[in-house]
Symmetry: C2
DNA sequence: GGGACAAATGAAACCGGTTACATATGAATG
DNA sequence: CATTCATATGTAACCGGTTTCATTTGTCCC
């Protein structure tokens, strides 16, 4: 009984926007309607600028909104409209230096369009991705940007059935079920090798990334196609480095055991190039005097090494921002027609590939 | 009329979980209730494990849930319960190498507790922060981790009024209104200077960060307190570097114009140390032979320079994961009692401070 | 004058959950 | 035996929006 009375008072207080401890009570659309002397439907029409509303009425409503400091509740909107203004970015690991810039690109665009970004680290593990997707589905996420590597055909189809727009970064377009954004990995690799050749290299090795990744594969292919007709070419010039710094370091040592006469190395990504640089330093091999070194990706780290690393730069930020743009467009227009965007890469020649003494 | 009939059929189809294009229809709690032959309240009780439910009944409900592949709708839950299982991480810029690791710490813990993380880049601009906070409030965010620098006293109080739990990283505890996590900046600075002295330095400069930041201020103070009693000490040994790579590079050149006899530099963060290293290389000054160099933060980049950089490492990942833990605890227990966590820093001695020839 | 149609508005259903309250049963207690 | 209490369940209100549909009014045209 006592409790009932208390509850009753609490309700009165809520309605009057009074609270003992100074806590703010959010006004609801019904409060606005009451104050403006109209129905909630009309307020909703004013808010969403749809349907017919008389000018005078609109003014009254706007005044009430201002007076109550009213902000529509996004969760209620989400429930009613099944759109939450939230997108998810699933990537392997935000701590991998490749991704922060991309994430920034995504977030900037999302923010500009009034969307919010949920960050998910998959560690490239299928079960983590799945559990994220489950959770995101429950939360009525509007769309997903997928920069992780273990997304399967089945997953894409499932997303499609669930009507969740999807944009994928750097994946093979397996029967092109969703929009894909990637860059010219093959062409970039050829660019890198050509650059090394132009700088006077006579025997070029390649440190490659995980071949499950389409990017790593394409880059390896680009290398192979560029050098296979040279007499010095041999498969043992290609060594795995797992896209990691330590992998690059180890790979370079392995290379120099087999081929001490290498004078150029093309690394499948910048992290491995950094590792390679370290390894070469430990071996007492000078860069670029003895060996020219070039990476791939164009991450910021390439500017802080000594010497600065040449690289084939992808437009990382743009990949993120474009992904967000494409996704939001898909969300808002509802058009699902998948597209493929292939972005250009650019050779960034720095000290690590400076021309050695003219031959 | 025709439309009405179509709608009617659509509803029937919905109820029967049939859809023409293979699109999946999510079952609702009412579907489960109907199938199990109980009320929605009972289903809800089973889901939330609260209230009394008979074992037999529970089984029936669970079976129905499994049969329908039912997943409770998080948005509806959020609306009803005012908890969305979402926290926000507001930081200046995820592309700044300091933050990805912290973000990873936050996300890992959040994920473990079933929470989702929204990423916000404030660029340290007050208006961006405010607009984020507005948006987050509307979305019934459960709590915020604030690693940005422009959070004012007023904002904290407003959050409090709005009942949004808050954990702040690296901020001064201005009348301790929320939990704060920081590390021993002052002590770390003293550690750095002592290390340089032990390594034989006789004249140590300091490149400092923006003095609006409590962290930068404390580190500067630590430097000053450690060296002010030396005869060689003079204020012009302290030069600003804005916590940025280019700032460190410029600062080091400025320093060497005024004090060519410097033999040790303590940088207020690692980015500036990287810039300083670059600057010293350009000046032809050898590290560590001519000048010993140490940074602060312990970001990964310090391991890829040549020579590797000594630094005072903060437990960056732990700062993030602890922040998430504290925040989620606050959210779930509702206890608002603010606490201060000061984490220990550790000296990481690498090649950039290797002892020069014994005096 | 009456039908068609655009403009304006409100009542009520709906989105999919949670929960306060009412009710019913059976066991334990005085 | 009446009372109390733990167990079990359902009804309906509620969270705060959107949207369908009905209704009213006014204008235009034949």
């Amino acid at each position: 009984m006592m409790i009932r009375i208390i509850c009753f008072f609490a309700k009165i207080c809520n309605r009057l926007h009074i609270k003992g401890d100074g806590e703010e009570i959010m006004a609801t659309i019904r409060d606005v309607a009451k104050l403006a002397g109209v129905s909630v439907a009309t307020v909703s029409r004013v808010l969403n600028k749809n349907g017919y509303v008389n000018n005078k009425t609109e003014e009254k409503v706007l005044k009430a909104i201002a007076q109550l400091n009213y902000e529509p509740n996004a969760v209620a909107r989400g429930l009613a409209g099944k759109q939450t203004g939230t997108i998810a970015l699933i990537l392997p690991d935000i701590a991998n230096p490749f991704f922060p810039e991309m994430a920034r690109g995504v977030e900037d665009v999302a923010q500009a369009y009034g969307y919010t970004v949920i960050l998910c680290n998959s560690d490239d593990q299928g079960h983590k991705e799945k559990s994220y997707i489950e959770m995101l589905k429950k939360k009525y996420i509007d769309g997903i940007i997928f920069a992780s590597n273990t997304l399967g055909q089945a997953d894409v189809e499932q997303m499609r059935r669930n009507n969740i727009p999807l944009v994928v970064l750097d994946r093979a377009p397996t029967r092109q079920l969703c929009s894909v954004i990637r860059s010219q990995n093959y062409e970039g690799a050829r660019l890198a090798v050509r650059h090394l050749l132009e700088m006077g290299c006579r025997k070029i090795a390649h440190i490659y990334g995980p071949q499950e990744l389409i990017t790593a594969k394409k880059r390896l292919l680009g290398y192979e196609e560029s050098v296979k007709h040279f007499p010095w070419y041999t498969p043992s010039l290609m060594v795995p480095g797992h896209f990691r710094v330590d992998g690059g370091l180890r790979a370079v040592k392995e290379l120099f055991e087999k081929h001490p006469d290498i004078d150029g190395i093309f690394c499948g990504n910048d992290l491995m190039a950094i590792g390679a640089l370290k390894g070469l330093y430990q071996l007492g091999v000078r860069v670029p005097e003895d060996v020219a070194l070039i990476g791939f990706d164009g991450i910021g780290l390439t500017e802080i090494t000594q010497p600065e690393l040449s690289t084939v730069a992808q437009p990382i930020y743009e990949m993120g921002s474009l992904a967000a743009k494409v996704l939001i467009e898909t969300i808002e227009t509802g058009v699902t027609e998948p597209r493929l965007y292939e972005l250009e890469v650019a050779l960034v020649a720095r000290d690590s590939t400076k021309r050695r003494t003219e031959a």
